[in-house]
Structures are given as structure tokens and as C-alpha cells.
Amino acid sequence: MAALPRRIIKETQRLMQEPVPGISAVPSETNARYFHVIVTGPEDSPFEGGLFKLELFLPEDYPMSAPKVRFITKIYHPNIDRLGRICLDILKDKWSPALQIRTVLLSIQALLSAPNPDDPLANDVAELWKVNESEAIRNAKEWTRRYAMDN
């Protein structure tokens, strides 16, 4: 396997030595560019108490291009679709090489606290979130209980 750039080694070491509260990111044993991620649902959000699995992959030209991140755990959120794809500007056109794995995952955790139905990826979810927020939040809590709380 090709050697890893120093930057990736350094980021990985820091993630292990100084983990971000509520976030764990562990590189795969077979591919050091592939991370198994777990994000805990933020307090006072419909996702509280849930453990959400994600996958994160660092492309070859990282950090010049953004990591590829996807939810594996099903989640009811207007900016995350049923395939787990995330609508977040810093993963697209607002990416900067000064951002890191940890800042990306913190942004995703913040997105759970602050859903943005005006920039939707899951249209049906976003629609309900706008029309009937309390029902949308009930659904989100139910999905969290059903999909993100089993072991």
C-alpha cells in the first residue's frame, strides 16, 4: 500500500490522542484512509441518546479535496437523505484544506443540532419539518430510538 502523507498520519494520531467529545473516528485496519466514525446525538436535539455510525474516506488528493462522509445509521434529518448522504457546504464548495477530519465531524454533529430544512436533501423530511415541525421532531426521535439506540 502506498505510504500515507504526513498530514493524514498526524491527524490520525491526534484523533486517537485527543479525541473529540462525542465523536470517535478509527481508521480501518486494511485502509488507513477509511475511518469508522461514531457520532453521538447532541443533547437537546431529537437525536439525543443515539449513536450514529458514519463512514469517512480521505480521497487521494486530500486535503486539497474534501473527505467523503456518509451516515450508515438511518437518520430522520432534512439535510441527510435515505442513502446517508449529507448536504453540508464544507463537504462541497466551501471545503478548505485547513479543515480537518475533526472539524468536519464537529460540523456534522452541529448539523444534527441545527437542521436546515431550507436547504434540503431529503425533500419529504424537509417539507414536514417546515409544515409541521413537532411531528417531524417526533419522527426524528422515533427513528433515533429505532435505529441509533440498538447496541
Binding site: 502506498a2 505510504a3 500515507l4 502523507p5 504526513r6 498530514r7 498526524k10 491527524e11 487521494e60 488528493d61 486535503p63 486539497m64 479535496s65 466551501k94 471545503w95 478548505s96 484544506p97 485547513a98 480537518q100
Partner: protein, 226 residues
């Protein structure tokens, strides 16, 4: 042009936000943010925005980058045991790899690895020690020769930063095309301009984006000489 700056403003000794290592050949963008020269080169070519504040990097920035340190020949190969320097072939000559890449190449080579992967200016390159070639991982046509030689071998400069010795070598006369891409109105900020042994850095950023044109030029020169 020289501007003296007090040592208290040496903020670039913090790590570069792009490579997360000590700023190497610290280079300041118009917005004031400082990165390694090679990291600036990477973002100037790819996103064209400052990695910290997203300010647009002028299209001609790499023609006149603001280097915050002098290019001193002695700063290379100062490590004890660093008896060898790695070079990559450029137009009419060889470039030294920067110190950091050089030590990575040395440790991979001495460790018996068949190849070494380096992140240079935002792109991943693989250096094969058997064929002694460097190939861009995402574009196999971007290929150039490399070599391991004494640090004293006359080079064009370091990692695309041209260092011009005080005495102009006569070899320049036989390779007139070399002057084509030299930009000499570079702004250099140094603290002590009186120090001897300083080489004036001249940026030649075209050198990394030449492939076929380089071969053609090389052939032309060779034909002219023979």
C-alpha cells in the same frame, strides 16, 4: 525589494494549516495568512482561495509570491548523515526536493522500500526507486526522472524556488531558454539583508506543469549543441 520586519511578527513558526507541519519556506498571501510555499502552490493551483479565510488568490500570485525567509543554501543538508540529496528533472536542469521530502525519500530508500509516496503542492506523487522516476498518482503521464546525488550537484533551485548563485554560471549561455520563465521582481521579506551567502529566490512555477513542451525544448537544445 526588501522590507525588514521585526522578529516579533514571526508568526509562521506555527504549523502550516495545510500540511500540519512546521511552515516550510513560509509564504504570505495578500490576505496575510502564511503557509508553506508548496502548500500555497497547491491551493493557488487548485481552489485558488486562501485555506484560512477563502480570500481569492490572485491568478498571478505565484509569479510574485511573498517569501518570508531567505533561501540560504546552507539550510539544506545540514542534518548530519544527510550525505545525499534527491533531485527531480526540470527544464534544462535538476531541482532539489525540499528538505522534508528529501528526508522522506532518504528514509524510504535506505529502508529498502521500492517506492516513496509524497504529497507535493497538493498532489500525490509516487517515486519509484527502481526506474528512478516520479509519477503523479492521478495522472500517469506526468512523469519525470529523479536522481540521488551529492548535495553539491548544481541545481536550479529547491522545489520550484529558483536559487541563483552570486556568480552566473557560464552554462547559462548554452541554455538560453532557461531565462524565459525567471521572474526576478519577487518581493522578499527578510530581517537582515546584510547577511552574506544569501541567494535570491526566484520563483519558477511553470516548471511543474510542463511535460511535452519540456521534452521538445530539451531536444531543441541538444540538437543545437550537437
Amino acid at each position: 525589494m526588501f522590507i525588514c520586519i521585526p522578529s516579533s511578527t514571526k508568526r509562521w513558526y506555527i504549523d502550516c494549516a495545510v500540511c500540519l507541519q512546521k511552515c516550510y519556506h513560509p509564504t504570505r498571501l495578500p490576505c496575510g495568512h502564511v503557509f508553506c510555499f508548496l502548500c500555497v502552490k497547491g491551493v493557488a493551483i487548485q481552489s485558488k482561495k486562501c485555506a484560512m479565510c477563502r480570500a481569492i488568490i490572485p491568478a498571478d500570485y505565484l509569479d510574485n509570491p511573498v517569501l518570508l525567509e531567505k533561501i540560504v543554501p546552507e539550510q539544506f543538508n545540514m542534518d548530519e548523515g544527510q550525505d545525499y540529496q534527491w533531485y527531480y528533472e526540470g527544464r534544462n536542469g535538476w531541482w532539489k526536493y525540499d528538505e522534508r521530502s528529501n528526508s522522506e525519500l532518504e528514509s524510504a530508500f535506505n529502508g529498502g522500500d521500492p517506492e516513496c509516496t509524497l504529497l507535493l503542492a497538493g498532489a500525490l506523487y509516487s517515486i519509484d526507486f527502481q526506474s528512478m522516476t516520479q509519477v503523479r498518482c492521478t495522472d500517469q503521464t506526468r512523469r519525470r526522472k529523479v536522481k540521488r546525488d551529492t548535495p553539491l550537484f548544481p541545481a536550479k533551485g529547491v522545489a520550484g524556488i529558483k536559487t541563483r548563485p552570486a556568480e552566473i554560471k557560464s552554462e547559462n549561455e548554452t541554455v538560453p531558454v532557461i531565462s524565459e520563465n525567471i521572474v526576478d521582481n519577487i518581493l522578499v521579506l527578510v530581517e537582515d539583508v546584510s547577511e552574506a551567502g544569501v541567494l535570491e529566490p526566484i520563483i519558477n512555477n511553470d516548471d511543474d506543469v510542463i511535460d511535452i513542451s519540456e521534452q521538445i525544448r530539451t531536444i531543441d537544445v541538444n540538437d543545437g549543441e550537437s
